[in-house]
Subunit: 235 residues, 2 copies
């Protein structure tokens, strides 16, 4: 009963006991196997039995490394946050923030299961902490108070995740259903106003890659003010 937990935080909990039979696998190994399965077959394929099979063990064995499946998902989320490559602040905080955003977008594209996870269950692990530290470092010279900076970071993450979600859902069954219903509404003649509002459909859709940086730049500027002439926090 006296399992070695430190306040129920897996990040502080010792991986293996110092005595007794040593474990055959590491927490990182279990995490990597889970990420591999999720990358290949999606998040719902990450079942305890499947992860165990990937490792060549029994399902119940995983509970020696993790208290619950949700905890395993937390490990997965934080592990891919190690894929950031964070350079020293350049002095242009807006450009540095956009760089963070674009790296986040790249990671989210690399791991299609990530976006729903980071939105619905935000996790702060060791690697996530490194990113947070970097962002605060980048914003250090900015006069806004800490709360505003944290809000800006949260907004950056939210916009990026939703943007990636829409990109990844491109052509999915759900998205095609929505488009089909919109098409029906416009075509059927029951929504003449909507049809008029959507009349001049753009012939050329802009490249999503460029749209993202533009949107993020505008939003961050709106939140923190133009980079050259920062505004005070209170009006």
């Amino acid at each position: 009963m006296a399992q070695g937990r430190s306040g129920d935080l897996i990040w502080l909990r010792p991986e293996h006991a110092a005595v007794g039979r040593p474990a055959q696998r590491s927490r990182a190994e279990v995490t990597a196997a889970s990420v591999a399965i999720a990358d290949r077959d999606g998040l719902e394929a990450v079942s305890m039995r499947r992860v165990a099979a990937e490792l060549g063990t029994g399902a119940a064995s995983l509970y020696r490394y993790v208290e619950t499946r949700d905890e395993l998902l937390d490990l997965m989320t934080d592990s891919v946050a190690a894929e950031y490559s964070l350079a020293a602040p350049s002095g242009d905080w807006l450009a540095d923030l956009v760089s963070v955003g674009e790296q986040a977008r790249a990671i989210l594209r690399r791991h299609p299961w990530l976006a729903p996870l980071v939105i619905t269950r935000p996790v702060l692990g060791p690697h996530g902490l490194t990113v947070l530290e970097h962002v605060l470092d980048v914003l250090a010279p900015h006069p806004a108070d800490i709360a505003a900076k944290l809000e800006a970071f949260a907004t950056l993450n939210a916009i990026t995740a939703v943007f990636a979600l829409n990109e990844l859902a491109g052509g999915s069954a759900a998205q095609r259903r929505n488009a089909a219903y919109l098409q029906h509404a416009v075509t059927s003649g029951e929504h003449p106003r909507l049809a008029r509002l959507l009349a001049r459909a753009p012939a050329t859709t802009a490249d999503p890659g460029d749209r993202y940086a533009d949107i993020l730049t505008r939003v961050m500027t709106g939140l923190l003010g133009p980079p050259s002439r920062p505004r005070p926090a209170m009006g």
Copy 2:
């Protein structure tokens, strides 16, 4: 086998067959029961058996009204979109957009299960279509092209949902864990830089209610330009 589907869209699929034994319940009734359960006990409590029990029927009966559980979730999502009260555009599109956002936030607070749903599986049903039409109506005088307006609407929804998610998760176990880990990182002395960046913690945290309108206003302004002097879509 010849079930009356119209392109797999539940919004166009006839609720009941014209012949044969009539159904005892309506699709709206099933949806309302599901929403009631979710409001009371959360989304994971919305199981087919539980919804059936709430209606006093058997679990398998629900499949006469819905093809799958996900479809039931779509019905739930669209049904609460009926709670908007959309007035005619006032002429101030920014104010009208903020009004839509605050109503969305109110709905999200009223139904704590909604936020994860609308983010991870965006659904366009009849009521959602009404909201979309309203937003396009509000933005009709704005010179931006349609794609930019749709992006602005998507961003509005994303920010609002994430904001509501954070509000609703206030004091949750997961959030307390994150705070505890951050506390540990700052206290333990292993992250002196992070500790310094977080040094001057604000003594007074602003009211989230006011923060939301402020953030949304800034973001929408950043995306669509200041309301009095709109900017062209391309630079």
